[in-house]
C-alpha cells in the first residue's frame, strides 16, 4: 500500500460527469460537466484535460475509483468501462463506490439520519439511509429502487434528504409532513468526484480494492432492454 496514493476518481452515474485527481486527502484538480450529452463523447477528454492541468500523466496514478451505481444505465456503464480499461492498461487497483454513499458525503457531521434520493425516472428513486460516523456515511438500510411515496411512509421524522431526487419530489416530501429545513439546498445534490476519492481512500487504507475483472455495475433494477427481453420471453 502506498502512503499518499495519487487517485483518479470519476462519477458518470448522473447527467453531471465529475472527475477528480487527489493525492491522498489533498485535492489536486477536479471538473464537473453537465453536458446533456452521452458521457462517452467527453469523458476521456475530460480526464485528459484534468491530467494536463495538474501536470500529471496516467503513469503517475496509484489508485482508481469509480461510482458503480445505482444511476443512469448508460452513464454507469461508460464510467465502469473507462476505469476498467485504465486499470488493465496501467495495472492499477480499483475501488468501487456507491452513488448513494457518494451523495451522502454532501451532508457531513449530521447527527440525524440521512436519506439519499436519486431520481431513477419512472416515478421511482434509488434510495438508502445512512448515519454519518467519523466522516463517512454508514448504511442504515439496504439500497433500493422504489416510489418516493413508499420511501417517505417509512422514514423517521428527524431524517434529512439529499440527492437530485429531492428537487424532483420536493412537493411530495413536503406533503408527507417533512420540513423544508430537512432538505439539502440544490447546490448540495450532485456527486463530487473528490468525495468519491475520499471514500475510495478509506477503503484503500483497509485493503478493500478490486481488480478490473471484479468491478461490476450496481443497477438494482433491470434495464429496459432486459425487461423487454423478459416480457417477450414470457409472451
Amino acid at each position: 500500500m502506498i502512503d499518499h496514493p495519487r487517485i483518479l476518481a470519476l462519477d458518470t452515474s448522473s447527467q453531471v460527469s465529475s472527475v477528480a485527481l487527489c493525492q491522498a486527502e489533498m485535492l489536486v484538480a477536479e471538473s464537473a460537466l453537465n453536458l446533456r450529452s452521452t458521457h462517452s463523447q467527453s469523458l476521456l477528454a475530460q480526464i485528459d484535460a484534468l491530467l494536463v492541468a495538474a501536470g500529471w500523466t496516467l503513469g503517475d496514478l496509484d489508485l482508481l475509483a469509480v461510482v458503480v451505481g445505482p444511476g443512469a444505465f448508460t452513464g454507469v456503464r461508460i464510467g465502469v468501462a473507462t476505469i476498467k480499461g485504465l486499470a488493465q492498461v496501467l495495472n492499477l487497483p480499483i475501488v468501487s463506490v456507491s452513488s448513494l454513499a457518494a451523495v451522502a458525503m454532501n451532508l457531513p457531521l449530521l447527527s440525524r439520519p440521512v436519506c439519499v434520493l436519486i431520481d431513477a425516472r419512472k416515478k421511482e428513486v434509488y434510495t438508502q439511509q445512512f448515519q454519518q460516523q467519523e466522516g463517512f456515511p454508514r448504511p442504515l438500510s439496504q439500497a433500493g429502487v422504489i416510489t418516493p411515496q413508499k420511501v417517505l411512509a417509512e422514514l423517521p421524522g428527524n431524517v434529512c434528504f439529499v440527492g437530485d431526487g429531492v428537487a424532483v419530489y420536493r412537493d411530495i416530501i413536503l406533503g408527507h409532513g417533512f420540513e423544508p429545513q430537512s432538505m439539502a439546498p440544490a447546490c448540495s445534490h450532485a456527486i463530487q468526484a473528490s468525495k468519491v476519492a475520499a471514500l475510495a481512500l478509506f477503503d484503500y487504507s483497509r485493503g478493500l480494492t478490486q481488480r478490473a475483472e471484479q468491478v461490476v455495475p450496481t443497477y438494482i433494477r433491470p434495464s429496459d432492454a432486459e425487461l423487454n427481453r423478459q416480457n417477450s420471453n414470457n409472451g
Copy 2:
C-alpha cells in the same frame, strides 16, 4: 432581474482556484485547480476552458460572483480584479461573497452552530460562526482574524468546524476538548464556486448586487506591505 440568470462564479482566496458556470440553481460546469502557483497565470485560461466546455461565451453571462475574502491577499486581489474587469467590459452586476460564508455552505442542514476556520498563516485563522437556516448560513458573529486558541476558548461545546484551518489546527481543537466528530472531513474544507454561485443567486434575488467600482476585497488584517509601511512611518 432575469428569471434564470447565467452565473460565472469564482474563488481564488485559497490555494485552490474554483470556477463555476451555473444557470440559476443548475450546475453547468465547474473546475477546481490546486496549482501552488499564482492564480494570475491560470485564472483566465481556467474561465475560458470552462466556457468552451459549456458551449457558452462571455456574452451569455447575466451575473458575476466573486469571493472577496478574507483569504490569501494576492489570490483575493486577482479574483476581484478579474471579476471587475469582466463586469466593466460586459456591463454586468456583481455579487460579493464572503469566503467564510462560502465555506459554511459545505455543512448544510446542521442544527448546531458552524465555526469556520480558514488558515490565515502567522498562527492565526480567519473565523466566523454561522447558523444554517433555510439552506444558507446566517452569521452569529463578526468575521475576525485571531489565534485558534482564542477562538476555541469562547465557543459553545456543540459547535462544528469546517475550513482548511481545521486540518492545520486539528490537534489544538482536540486539545480544547472538542470531539473528532465535530470536525468536517478533509474533502469538505475547500470552497466550491458552485456554492458561491448559490449564495450570489440568493443575493441577486433580493436585488443585492454591486457595480464593479463598489466591489472591494475584505482583508480583515492589513497586508505585510501595509504593516511594513506603518512600521517605517512609525520608526
